[in-house]
C-alpha cells in the first residue's frame, strides 16, 4: 500500500460512524464520533463516483474553504478522508439550525437573543470576508447551532474567493428569498455586500418569525422586495437600470420599517435598514456592522448558553397541539412564531456554475419529513 493510502486509512480509523441521520441524492450524513475521545461528529459522505467530471465542485469548494477557515462561528472541518469512491468530510457535530429554531413555535425570542445570533453571524461572516471568501448561500438553515448555543456558518458549497474588482462571477447564487436585488438584476460583478443582504433578511426573519421576503419566482422576488422596501430610484441606486437583467417591475412606495417591525428599537431598525440598502456599495460591511450602536445598546446579547434551544421532541410533536399554549397576539418583549407559514420554503440552493445539481448540502439531522 502507498504511503498516501496508508495515511488515509489511518485517518479513516480515527472516526466511527454511528448512525445514518440524513440522506440526499449526492451525500449521506452520519452521526459519528472520534474513536479515541468519543467526541461527537457529523460525517458527510459524498458519493463521488457518480460525477462524470470527477470531484464535484460543491465538495471541492466546501473542502477548500473549510480547510482554511478556523473560527468559532464557522463550522469546523475536522478531517477529510476517502473510502473507495466516496469523499468523507468529518465536521463538528451541531444539533440544530436557526431555521428549526425560528419555526419552533414553542420558543420565545427575546431581543437579546436575536442580538446574540446576529452578533455571532456577523462575527463569522466578518471572518470569511476578511479571508476574501464570499459565502453566497446564507439562510437560516445554513446557520447551525451547537449544543452550547454557538452559531456556526455552514455549507460552503457555493462559496468562492474574490480578488480583483472586475472579475466576472455567476449571479445564480444565494437561495432566492435571501438573494439581493443586484443578483436578481443579473449583476456579474459583486462583492461581500451580497452576503450582507442575506444577513439582513435573516435579521428580519428572526424578528418576524417568518421569512421576510418570500418571493415565488425570481421576478416575484424583486416585486416582493420593492413592495417591502419601495422601488429604488436612480438616486437610491445609481445605474441599476443598466444591469444586464434589469426589468421594471412596478412602482411601490417606500414604507417605513417601523410599520412592520413595531417592537424593534431605533438601533435595531437602523442596522437592519443598512443591511438592506439597495446600492451595494453603501450597504454596511460585516466589520462596520459589528461596531454598530445596536450591539452596544441595552439589552446586551444573551449568553450563547442562555439562548432558546429546540426541545428534544419538537420535531415529532404535532404543531396544532402547541397552538393553545401560545398567545399569538400577546404583546411583550418576546417574539413568537406566527401561524404556520403557508409558503413552501425552498430548501435547495440555486445551481452552481456547472449547471446545478441539487446536492444535499444541508446537514439534516432529522430524517426528511414529507
Amino acid at each position: 500500500m502507498d504511503a498516501v493510502e496508508r495515511a488515509n486509512t489511518e485517518r479513516q480509523k480515527r472516526w466511527v460512524k454511528d448512525q445514518k441521520v440524513g440522506e440526499g441524492t449526492y451525500a449521506v450524513v452520519y452521526r459519528g464520533r472520534e474513536f479515541a475521545t468519543g467526541r461527537k461528529v457529523a460525517i458527510k459522505k459524498i458519493k463521488v463516483g457518480q460525477f462524470k467530471d470527477g470531484l464535484d465542485m460543491s465538495a471541492i469548494r466546501e473542502v477548500k474553504y473549510l480547510r482554511e477557515l478556523h473560527h468559532q462561528n464557522v463550522i469546523e472541518l475536522l478531517d477529510v478522508f476517502s473510502s473507495k469512491t466516496n469523499l468523507n468530510l468529518v465536521l463538528e457535530f451541531l444539533d440544530s439550525d436557526l431555521e428549526k429554531i425560528i419555526k419552533d413555535r414553542t420558543l420565545v425570542f427575546l431581543p437579546a437573543d436575536i442580538k446574540a445570533w446576529m452578533a455571532m453571524t456577523f462575527r463569522g461572516l466578518e471572518f470569511c470576508h476578511r479571508n476574501f471568501v464570499l459565502h453566497r448561500d446564507l439562510k437560516p438553515n445554513n446557520l447551525l447551532i451547537a449544543s452550547d448555543g454557538q452559531l456556526k456558518i455552514a455549507d460552503f458549497g457555493l462559496a468562492r474567493d474574490f480578488t480583483d474588482p472586475g472579475h466576472k462571477m455567476t449571479c445564480q447564487v444565494i437561495t432566492r428569498w435571501y438573494r439581493p436585488p443586484e443578483l436578481l438584476f443579473g449583476s456579474r460583478y459583486y462583492s461581500t455586500a451580497v452576503d450582507i443582504w442575506s444577513v439582513g433578511c435573516i435579521f428580519a426573519e428572526l424578528m418576524l418569525r417568518t421569512p421576510y421576503l418570500p418571493g415565488e419566482t425570481d421576478m416575484d422576488q424583486l416585486k416582493t422586495i420593492f413592495r417591502a422596501l419601495g422601488t429604488p430610484t436612480e438616486e437610491d441606486w445609481p445605474g441599476h437600470t443598466k444591469l444586464p437583467d434589469y426589468v421594471p417591475v412596478g412602482q411601490f412606495p417606500r414604507t417605513p420599517l417601523r410599520d412592520l417591525f413595531t417592537a424593534a428599537t431605533t438601533d435595531t431598525l437602523n442596522l437592519l435598514s443598512k443591511c438592506l440598502i439597495y446600492e451595494p456599495r453603501k450597504r454596511i460591511g460585516a466589520k462596520e456592522a459589528l461596531h454598530h450602536a445596536y450591539f452596544f445598546a441595552l439589552p446586551y446579547p444573551s449568553h450563547p448558553s442562555k439562548l432558546p434551544k429546540l426541545s428534544n421532541n419538537t420535531s415529532s410533536r404535532p404543531l396544532d397541539e402547541v397552538d393553545g399554549n401560545v398567545d399569538m397576539n400577546a404583546s411583550g418583549p418576546g417574539v413568537k412564531a406566527s401561524a404556520p407559514n403557508r409558503l413552501k420554503r425552498k430548501l435547495s440552493s440555486p445551481g452552481d456554475e456547472l449547471g446545478g445539481r441539487p446536492l444535499a448540502r444541508r446537514l439534516d439531522f432529522t430524517q426528511k419529513r414529507s
Binding site: 502507498d2 504511503a3 498516501v4 493510502e5 495515511a7 488515509n8 466511527v16 460512524k17 454511528d18 452520519y30 459522505k45 458519493k47 463521488v48 463516483g49 462524470k52 467530471d53 470527477g54 470531484l55 465542485m57 471541492i60 469548494r61 473542502v63 477548500k64 474553504y65 480547510r67 482554511e68 478556523h70 477529510v80 476517502s82 473510502s83 473507495k84 469512491t85 466516496n86 476578511r130 479571508n131 476574501f132 468562492r160 474567493d161 480578488t163 456554475e353 456547472l354
Partner: protein, 365 residues
C-alpha cells in the same frame, strides 16, 4: 493585499508576535502550516521518500524473481526531481492552449510539486499526474471545464487517465486546495507602489512589473514556493527587475512598523537566496538528460503499478481474495444468526455495530 498579509507573516512580523495579536491570514493557511520546508528538510523528505520507494520496489522485484533487482538502476531523488520539473514545464503550454488564467497554471504547478513530496515518480509517472493536477486546479480555482472538453483537447488522453488519479492527487495534497501565489503577491506590491507619494509613475515603468512577473514565472520551476512565502518570492523577483523600486517598497513598510533594523536589511539574505535560486534553476530542465532518466524509469518503475504485469495481477488477486473472505464471513454471520434462533439476530455490541457500519459503508457506494 495578499502581498501585504504574507509579508507581515514573515520577517517583518517578528516584533509584534508577543502581543497576542490577531494571526495574519497567511499564518492561518494550510500552506504556511503544512507546505513550508527548510532547504535541508526538503532535501531530507525527498531523499527518504526515494529510499523508501526503492526499498519497496526492490522487494517487489525480488518477490517476483529473486535476484532480479540487482541489475536495476533505480532513480535517485535528484533524478526524480528532474522528471517532475520537465512536466512542470508542460503545464504553462497546456494552460496557454486552453487559455486558462494564471491562477490555474500556478496552482497546478504547486499541486504537482506537493504531490511528489508524498509520492515517487517510480509509482506514478508525472505525465498523468500533471494532467490530473491541472484538471483539479481548474476546479479548485473556480474555472471548471468538462472532463470531455479537457481530454479531447489533449492528444492520446482518455477521461480515465485523468479521473483515475484524481482521488490520489487530492489525498496527496491532504485535500488542501488553497494555494497562495507569488504572482498575486507581486500584483499586491505593484498596487502598493502606486500609492507611494514619492514614487511617481515615470519612476515605476510598467515593464518593471512585466520583468518581475517573468521572474515569478521562472520561480515556479524552482523549490522557492516550498521554502519562502509568496511575498518574499515576489519581492525578490521585483528586486531582480529593479533593486531601487524594491528598496523603496521595503522602506515604505519599515516606515509603517519601525523596528531597529530596516526591512530591506532584514530581508537581504532571504531575497539573495531566492534571487540565486530563480536565476540558477528557473528554467525547464535539459531535455536530453530527462530523456535518459525517463528511459531508466521504464525499467525501474513499480511493477505493481504496471497494468498486466505479474506483480500487478498478484496484487489484484490478493485484493479479491480479501473481498471474498469478507463475503464469506458475512454469509456465515447470517447463517449463524438464523441458527441461533432469533431471525433478527441478537443485540449488537457497540464494537459489532461499528464493524457493521464500516461494512455497510463499503457496500453502498
Amino acid at each position: 493585499m495578499a502581498a501585504e498579509n504574507s509579508t507581515k507573516a514573515t520577517s517583518a512580523e517578528a516584533g509584534s508576535s508577543s502581543l497576542g495579536k490577531k494571526k495574519p491570514l497567511y499564518e492561518a493557511s494550510t500552506q504556511y502550516k503544512n507546505w513550508r520546508y527548510s532547504p535541508e528538510r526538503l532535501e531530507d523528505v525527498r531523499t527518504q521518500l526515494n529510499a523508501a520507494a526503492v526499498a519497496v520496489i526492490r522487494n517487489t522485484f525480488e518477490a517476483d524473481e529473486p535476484g532480479s533487482s540487482s541489475g536495476v538502476a533505480f532513480l535517485d531523488a535528484g533524478e526524480e526531481q528532474l522528471l517532475v520539473k520537465l512536466y512542470i514545464s508542460k503545464i504553462p503550454q497546456l494552460c496557454g492552449h486552453f487559455r486558462f488564467p494564471e491562477e490555474v497554471e500556478a496552482t497546478a504547478i504547486s499541486y504537482l510539486k506537493r504531490f511528489y513530496l508524498k509520492n515517487t515518480v517510480m509509482d506514478w509517472h508525472p505525465k498523468n499526474v500533471m494532467l490530473t493536477a491541472l484538471f483539479l486546479a481548474t476546479k479548485t480555482t473556480n474555472n471548471p471545464i468538462s472532463l470531455e472538453a479537457y481530454t479531447s483537447n489533449i492528444p492520446k488522453t482518455s477521461p480515465s487517465d485523468v479521473l483515475d488519479l484524481e482521488f490520489l492527487v487530492a489525498q496527496s495534497l491532504g485535500f488542501e486546495f488553497a494555494v497562495w501565489h507569488a504572482h498575486r503577491a507581486l500584483w499586491g506590491i505593484w498596487l502598493d507602489l502606486q500609492s507611494l507619494p514619492d514614487l511617481s509613475a515615470d519612476l515605476r515603468p510598467q515593464d518593471v512589473y512585466e520583468i518581475a512577473l517573468k521572474h515569478v514565472r521562472a520561480s515556479r520551476f524552482t523549490d522557492a514556493e516550498l521554502i519562502y512565502t509568496p511575498s518574499q518570492i515576489a519581492l525578490a523577483c521585483l528586486s531582480i527587475a529593479s533593486p531601487l523600486i524594491c528598496q523603496r517598497w521595503a522602506d515604505s513598510k519599515s516606515a509603517v512598523s519601525p523596528s531597529s533594523q530596516p526591512l530591506s536589511e532584514v530581508l537581504e539574505d532571504t531575497l539573495g537566496a531566492i534571487k540565486f535560486m530563480v536565476m540558477q534553476a528557473g528554467q525547464p530542465p535539459d531535455v536530453e538528460s530527462v530523456r535518459e532518466v525517463d528511459r531508466r524509469l521504464k525499467l525501474c518503475k513499480n511493477p505493481e503499478k504496471v497494468v498486466g504485469s505479474k506483480a500487478y495481477l498478484a496484487r489484484i488477486a490478493e485484493d479479491e481474495h480479501r473481498a471474498e473472505q469478507k463475503r464469506n464471513k458475512k454469509a456465515n454471520d447470517v447463517r449463524r444468526a438464523l441458527a441461533e434462533g432469533d431471525p433478527f439476530g441478537s443485540e449488537l455490541t457497540d464494537k459489532e455495530k461499528a464493524e457493521r457500519l464500516a461494512e455497510l459503508d463499503e457496500d453502498d457506494d
